[in-house]
């Protein structure tokens, strides 16, 4: 009987959902790649000596963290690209940009916090040896800060992965979008959604376990 059950609705939905999962992971990976770049720039910007640079990045971080990602995606896709500049952005690209901009703000705080957490004496020791500001950052502060950034960055990956599910509203063919498409035809709503959740967990649980191990190994 179990065989019959597994043979039917659950398993049959998989090939269809698989396409959605690839989009979900793809958007997360590409989006986070750019998100890390934005976050590094923004995080260092928030540590800048210049008040103007600090203010600009603080506004960015606070605006993004203070608004829901669903609103951000709609704003980006319909508000800016269609309405304001009349650009026909494809929804995958819009999703990538939304994740990059959204995760960038959170990563900025991760970067800022990690750099800030390195003891001031490290910086002073570097400078007292004659290393320039840049050399001190590159050889002394960054390597230590980066180690502390790895666990929260992994955490951000899990969060961003789940965040992509709201992009079905801008017609990104992600896992949730594909699921809706599928059960609207087959009416196997329960079975399909069980599989959706399992597929998310297949990525998030191993990631979380790996991160926990990594944290112990890095001892941070």
């Amino acid at each position: 009987m179990l065989d019959a059950l597994m043979d039917s609705a659950y398993i049959k939905s998989l090939p269809f959902l698989w396409d959605g999962l690839k989009v979900t992971v793809g958007i997360t990976a590409v989006g986070l790649f750019f998100g890390i770049i934005i976050g590094a720039i923004a995080g260092l910007g928030k540590l800048s000596k210049s008040r103007i640079i600090r203010a600009i990045w603080t506004v960015y971080v606070e605006v993004v963290r203070g608004t829901p990602i669903l609103a951000q995606a709609l704003f980006l896709y319909f508000g800016i690209s269609e309405d304001l500049i009349g650009l026909n952005l494809d929804s995958f690209t819009a999703g990538v940009i939304a994740i990059a901009v959204n995760a960038g703000a959170y990563i900025a705080e991760i970067v800022r916090g990690a750099v800030y957490s390195i003891d001031k004496g490290q910086h002073e020791a570097g400078r007292s040896l004659g290393l320039s500001q840049k050399q001190t950052m590159r050889y002394i502060i960054w390597p230590q800060a980066f180690k502390r950034m790895i666990p929260p960055l992994g955490n951000q990956f899990v969060i961003s992965l789940k965040d992509t599910s709201v992009f079905s509203v801008i017609a990104v063919h992600d896992l949730v979008y594909k699921a809706k498409q599928y059960y609207n035809i087959t009416f196997e709503v329960f079975e399909t959604l069980v599989m959706v959740c399992l597929l998310y967990l297949c990525i998030t649980i191993p990631t979380a376990l790996y991160l926990r191990r990594l944290e112990r190994k890095l001892d941070v």
Binding site: G121, E124, G130, L131, Q135
Partner: protein, 240 residues
């Protein structure tokens, strides 16, 4: 070697140094003592611009630190600094801690820097620790590595900011011994310290600071055994 003229330092509205004048000659060992909050660490940190000087003049080896056109990174290579909390780089091995600046700042080759570092480690009695990480060292060993790291730049002056204050009592001796050897070799040294024994034995001169000014200075015997200033008398009576 070091000349300080009318040095003032403010932290916001707080005046920490209220006009310091000092001359430190080549090969001289000057110990700076005083109660906490007296400004002695700030004074030391002004000597390599780890603290920005509010006003006044600091000249080291003929170069004016406060002149904006002075290449401060280059000048700092002439001034070694040893910190209370060692500030070793935890992500680098002992050897890498010592060779980093000679390679990156002075442009030494890996091999040149390594050879120099190993002989310095030998000098501070830690030749066998080259490849370990700072984490596995005791406080006294860390501080000796930190001294070797500063010496690797061949500085003309060494600044010590309470180098033994964070150490367990039984580890203090080894660090002081390294400093004594250094003094004997003729290194110019400015030492902020609470080790009165060291100041007496090794110091050529003692400076007593309180409330941001130099209250008294002179030969260690004179300052310790026959202090003139009432503040010096009260400070010494509390700690001796």
């Amino acid at each position: 070697m070091i000349s300080v003229k009318n040095l003032h330092k403010y932290f916001g509205d707080l005046e920490v140094l209220k006009g310091i004048d000092a001359e430190i000659k080549e090969q001289e060992v000057v110990c700076v003592i005083g109660p906490s909050g007296s400004g002695k660490s700030t004074f030391l940190r002004c000597l390599n611009l780890l603290e920005e000087v509010t006003s006044g003049q600091v000249t080291i080896d003929g170069e004016d630190l406060t002149d904006p056109s002075t290449d401060i990174n280059k000048l700092r290579t002439k001034v070694g600094m040893v910190f209370q909390h060692f500030n070793l780089f935890p992500h680098k091995s002992v050897l890498e801690n010592i060779t980093l600046a000679p390679i990156k700042v002075k442009g030494l080759s890996q091999q040149e820097a390594k050879d120099a570092a190993l002989s310095l480690l030998d000098k501070v009695g830690l030749a066998d620790k080259a490849d370990v990480y700072p984490d596995s060292l005791s406080g006294g060993q860390k501080q000796r590595v930190a001294i070797a790291r500063a010496l690797a730049m061949n500085p003309k002056v060494m600044l010590f900011d309470e180098p033994t204050s964070a150490l367990d009592p039984e580890l203090v001796g080894d660090v002081l011994q390294v400093m004594k050897d250094l003094a004997k070799e003729g290194m110019t040294m400015v030492v902020v310290t609470h080790e009165m024994g060291f100041a007496k034995e090794v110091g050529d001169r003692v400076i007593f600071m309180d409330e941001g000014i130099i209250q008294e200075e002179g030969d260690p015997e004179q300052v310790f055994d026959n202090p003139q200033n009432p503040r010096t008398q009260s400070f010494l009576s509390k700690i001796l």
